[in-house]
C-alpha cells in the first residue's frame, strides 16, 4: 500500500528527530534525555516485533514480556558470571561481549517463542491470549525463584556489554547502537511483510479457511513469524538490561506485556512504524503527567481508552487518514 505523503513526511521527521536526540541533549545540557530516549527506542523495538504478529497475523500475544525478560536475563546472567569469573555451564564463565550475548538472548527467546507458539497457535482469540499470558507468568515465577540471580529483588549488572571490544558505557554510543538496530529491524520486517511469506501471514489474518482452501496451511508460517517476533523482543530485552544495567522479574510481568500492547495500539497497529510513534508518545505522556501529578496513571488510563475508541489506527493511522 503506498504511503500518503504526509505520513511519510512525518516518519522521516520522526526518524530525523531521533537521530538528533544526542546532540540536542548535549546542546540543551540535558544528558538524561539520551538514556530516556534509549529506553523509548528499546520499547519501540519490542512493540515493532509484537506488531509483526499482532498487526499482520492477528496473533494478539499477551505474553511478549516473557521474551523480553528472557533476553534481559540472558545478558544479566552472562555478565554476572563473566564479571565474577563464576562457571555457568561446562566450565564456561559467561561473557560480557554483546556480539555473543545479544544473539544468545535472541536464540533463547526465539526457542521459548517456538515452544509457546507450538501450543498457542493451535488456538485463536481469547484462548490464544490466555495461553500466551500463562507462558509469560511461568517465566515470571521462574525468574522470581532464581535466588542466585537476585530473585524478587532483581539483578544489578556490573556494567554494560562491550560491542566487539568497544565499551557501550557511553550513553551516546549506546543510543546509536539501539537506534541502528531499530532501523535495521524496521527495514527487515518491512521487507518481510511484503514478501510471499508476509502475504501468507496477512491472508491468514483475513480468512484462514479460504487460505486452506487454496492449499496453504498457515500454521508453519504463523509459527515462524511468532518465533521471529519473540527473538526480536528478546533482543529488545537484551538492550534494556544494558540501558538500565539492571534486570528484575517485573520485566516478565503481565503489565509489561500490556505495555507492549498499548504501545502498538496507541501508535498504530499493522504498520510497523506505528509502534515507534506509540513508544515515544507513551514515554512523553508519562513524563508530562508525572510532572503534573504523582497519580499520573489515573489520567493516562482514560486517555488510552479514548485513543482506543476514537483513533482506531492509532497515531500513525490518524496521520495516514489526515493526508487522505
Amino acid at each position: 500500500m503506498p504511503k500518503p505523503p504526509r505520513a511519510r513526511f512525518a516518519t522521516v521527521m520522526l526518524l530525523l528527530l531521533l537521530a538528533l536526540i544526542p546532540p540536542l541533549a548535549v546542546l540543551t545540557e540535558n544528558p538524561f534525555l539520551v538514556t530516556m530516549f534509549s529506553r523509548a527506542l528499546i520499547f519501540a523495538l519490542a512493540a515493532v516485533a509484537l506488531d509483526l504478529v499482532m498487526g499482520y497475523g492477528r496473533m494478539v500475544s499477551f505474553g511478549h514480556a516473557a521474551f523480553f525478560a528472557l533476553g534481559a536475563y540472558t545478558v544479566g546472567i552472562l555478565s554476572t558470571h563473566a564479571m565474577q569469573d563464576l562457571p555457568l555451564a561446562f566450565g564456561w564463565t559467561g561473557s560480557n561481549e554483546a556480539l555473543l550475548a545479544w544473539p544468545l538472548a535472541m536464540l533463547i527467546s526465539g526457542l521459548y517463542a517456538l515452544l509457546v507458539g507450538l501450543i498457542s497457535l493451535r488456538t485463536s482469540g481469547v484462548y490464544f491470549i490466555m495461553i500466551t499470558l500463562a507462558f509469560a507468568q511461568l517465566i515470571y515465577f521462574i525468574v522470581i525463584s532464581l535466588s542466585q540471580y537476585g530473585g524478587q529483588d532483581g539483578l544489578a549488572l556490573w556494567g554494560r556489554n562491550t560491542l566487539a571490544g568497544v565499551a557501550l558505557e557511553d550513553p551516546i554510543s549506546f543510543y546509536y547502537a539501539c537506534f541502528g538496530l531499530l532501523l535495521a529491524v524496521l527495514y527487515l520486517l518491512r521487507r518481510l511483510v511484503g514478501s510471499r511469506f508476509g502475504r501468507v501471514i496477512e491472508a491468514s489474518r483475513q480468512n484462514d479457511v479460504r487460505l486452506r482452501a487454496l492449499g496453504i496451511d498457515p500454521f508453519r508460517y504463523r509459527l515462524t513469524a511468532f518465533v521471529i517476533s519473540g527473538a526480536l523482543t528478546g533482543l529488545a530485552g537484551a538492550l534494556l538490561a544494558n540501558n538500565s544495567e539492571f534486570v528484575d522479574p517485573t520485566l516478565a510481568s503481565w503489565m509489561q506485556s500490556g505495555n507492549f500492547l498499548v504501545i502498538v495500539l496507541l501508535g498504530g497497529i499493522g504498520s510497523l512504524i506505528g509502534p515507534v510513534y506509540g513508544a515515544l508518545a507513551l514515554l512523553l505522556m508519562e513524563e508530562l503527567l508525572i510532572a503534573l501529578t504523582e497519580h499520573w496513571q489515573i489520567i493516562l488510563g482514560p486517555l488510552l481508552i479514548l485513543v482506543a475508541l476514537f483513533f482506531r489506527g492509532g497515531i500513525y493511522g490518524a496521520l495516514r487518514r489526515s493526508s487522505g
Partner: protein
C-alpha cells in the same frame, strides 16, 4: 483400486459418506464420482445437504463414515489444505475472498499456493512476475482485468464470485468443487462463467452444486439429486429430468 477402475476412470470418488450433526443426519450413504472432462452437477432443494457434502469432499469436514478417493488413493484423512495442494480445490457459497488485498493480489496468492514456496522473506511479492503474470492471465480468463487494482472488499457481489473462480483456477486444480458459483451473479456474469466452465471442462473434473437449472442442464454431463442427505437419483440430465421421483421431490417446484 479395482473399484476405481470398475468405475471407468473416475479420478475423484466418494464412497458411502455419512455425516451427522447431533440428531440431524446430513449425509446418508452418499457415493458419487467425477471424471476429467466431465461436469457432475449436484442438485437438490434447500437443506438437502449439498454444501455439507461438498465440505466433506474438500476436506473441510471429516465424514463419520465412508471414504474419499483421488487418483486411486484414499484421501479421507487429508485435511483441506493438503487436498487443495494436490489439486482438489473448492469455492465457497458464501463469498470468501481476501477483502483487504487487491483483486490481483488475491489471485497472485492463489498462484503462490501452487508454487508452494512461501518461506521467501525478502523479495516483494507485489513485484514478483512469477506471481503477477499468471495472475493477470487468469484475471483475463474470467474477465476481471479492468478491476485488478481494486480492493477485493470493494467488488460487487457478482464480481467477488468471479474472483472466487479466478482464485480457484489460479491454483491449477484437477478437481474443481464449485458451491453455487452463479448465485448472486447477473445474467451476463453467469453467461461468462458458463462459457468459461465449458472451455476448461476438458482438462478438469468439475463437481457443480448449483440452483440455476438452466445452467445445470446446459453444463452437466451427469446430474445427481440429493434429498435430505441421500441420493435420490443419478444419471444423465435427460434421465434425471424424466425421473418421476425427482419431479415430485424437487424439479416441479422449479417449474421445469
Amino acid at each position: 483400486m479395482s473399484c476405481t477402475r470398475a468405475n471407468g476412470g473416475a479420478i475423484f470418488e466418494a464412497r458411502g459418506l455419512h455425516k451427522r450433526f447431533g440428531g440431524l443426519h446430513a449425509t446418508r450413504d452418499l457415493s458419487l464420482s467425477v471424471e476429467v472432462g466431465q461436469v457432475h452437477a449436484l442438485i437438490g432443494p434447500n437443506g438437502a445437504g449439498k454444501t455439507t457434502a461438498l465440505a466433506q469432499l474438500a476436506g473441510q469436514l471429516r465424514p463419520d463414515a465412508g471414504t474419499i478417493w483421488y487418483r486411486g488413493r484414499d484421501i479421507t484423512a487429508l485435511p483441506m489444505a493438503a487436498r487443495a495442494a494436490r489439486g482438489i480445490v473448492r469455492t465457497f457459497q458464501i463469498t470468501a475472498v481476501f477483502e483487504e488485498f487487491s483483486v490481483r493480489d488475491n489471485v497472485a496468492l492463489a498462484v503462490q499456493s501452487r508454487a508452494r514456496h512461501h518461506f521467501a522473506f525478502w523479495r516483494p511479492a507485489a513485484k514478483d512476475r512469477r506471481l503477477t503474470e499468471p495472475a493477470e492471465r487468469v484475471l483475463e480468463q474470467v474477465g476481471l482485468t479492468a478491476l485488478a487494482n481494486l480492493r477485493a472488499g470493494d467488488l460487487s457481489h457478482g464480481q467477488k464470485r468471479q474472483l472466487e473462480i479466478a482464485m480457484a483456477l489460479a491454483t491449477e486444480p484437477t478437481v474443481l468443487l464449485l458451491d453455487e458459483p452463479m448465485a448472486g451473479m447477473s445474467r451476463a456474469e453467469s453467461e461468462t462463467l458458463s462459457t468459461l466452465l465449458e472451455r476448461i471442462k476438458p482438462a478438469h473434473a468439475i463437481l457443480l452444486v448449483e440452483h440455476d437449472m438452466d445452467v445445470v442442464f446446459r453444463l452437466a454431463d451427469r446430474v445427481s439429486v440429493l434429498v435430505v442427505g441421500a441420493l435420490l437419483a443419478s444419471g444423465s440430465p435427460q434421465e434425471v429430468r424424466a425421473d418421476a421421483r425427482v419431479r415430485a421431490a424437487y424439479l416441479d417446484e422449479e417449474a421445469l
